[in-house]
Symmetry: D2
């Protein structure tokens, strides 16, 4: 299991007239959090794309427990629960400034060879940095 | 069961550098589609809010089967599968211009009294227009 | 001069907690409106990109006269005031449902050869459809 | 004159299929940068809203000199060039990781009393923290 955390401050444009973060913006919070979790491993998603690998999202699941509000500094805990194969799962827990769990998410992504468009194994470099955690 | 459909054209700003619609933008497509499905019932979400009812999203589930691309006119089929109580479920199927099913979604929303912040039954007017379908 | 119009309905996710359309979302309204204005000429921006031409924005100017609100059907009048050279200007006027002018915008875009990254003249096909208006 | 700076990392969802940051996303970068510039003064925009003041944008001007790309850590220099009255101007300069100036922006905002909807002077607290710079 690999777990890490990231902080994201809610932008004004991410709220809606219900005075909460618009539900559609959580997916981008997930993206930021999982990209930072890879960066902390010493590997960036940008580098993966430079190697010819893209990681499209196959599934996304979200539970909205409590609203997030403007200007809050959210804490997002990201977990890769299992050793990735041609797919990789990420779990997200979002906590507000009062340390209350307000959101849970889960995404399934594929490793895809950009040229062939076909699923592939994660690149060697990626397997290497993740190995100690599984 | 109540089923209706809406068309949405993919905007340039909704794509990402993978050349597909960014995965986080589907939630807004759902929103447009469910708002239009209510409008076709003769009731708007705007009117619901004017009655003091807000409908926060509790859960969101998405399956990305194939990518959507820029400028495509997507067809979104929205279904309310069950008679709503204090919660209401919406199902979404998105078809591309080749009539291929490319995406499936599901959201669970609550009816909430804006003043008290507490769950409530859908307003009479809403129950009335939906009644014939269940 | 070439003038055309498009209608856009305000999405919930485009509002912010001020209860208005977030100021950053007007640029996407411009994009939708200018793409539709080209489509009405019988040419799509998608086709331009397929010909190897991209049209990056060089300048954007916006005046927010009155707020736009949720669910309004905005009318956007788009004008190409001058015959385009390697650059093309678009003007936008946005009217709300009460036919009040609420917003004015102006964008300057370039025609760029995607391969070379260099400015270029608009493709023949584009010049041809626009010719009658100048 | 009051000048400060903020860093923003480009999110994947902020790019478009041209492989650049979508032009409509700069307005949100401005928002983040000016909110942080206020925070560094010891005052938050959130607090201003809590005092009953909202700051709608009246004008927005952008010059796109060079594209910003995915995952870049942009440096945004924000300047309040003049002592604010019922209006306040912000200037933005965005630099990429190679320290190249890639974007220039300017926004004019109003101070508005949320209850009356009328323009007003900035609150005392705001004038106080800014005073040393003008």
């Amino acid at each position: 299991m690999y777990t890490t955390e990231t902080h994201i401050r809610v932008r004004y444009g991410e709220t809606d007239q219900m005075q909460y973060v618009y539900y559609g913006n959580y997916a981008m919070y997930y993206e930021v959090a999982r990209v930072e979790s890879l960066r902390q491993l010493g590997l960036t998603y940008k580098e993966l794309e430079a190697m010819g690998i893209i990681m499209p999202v196959l599934e996304n699941h979200s539970e909205f427990l409590s609203p997030a509000v403007y200007d809050e500094l959210l804490r997002i805990v990201v977990t890769i629960p299992e050793k990735p194969s041609v797919r990789i799962q990420f779990l997200y827990e979002i906590y507000n400034e009062q340390a209350k769990l307000i959101h849970r998410g889960k995404t399934l992504l594929a490793f895809v060879n950009q040229k062939t468009g076909r699923p592939c194994r994660p690149p060697e470099a990626f397997q290497l940095v993740l190995a100690p955690y599984f």
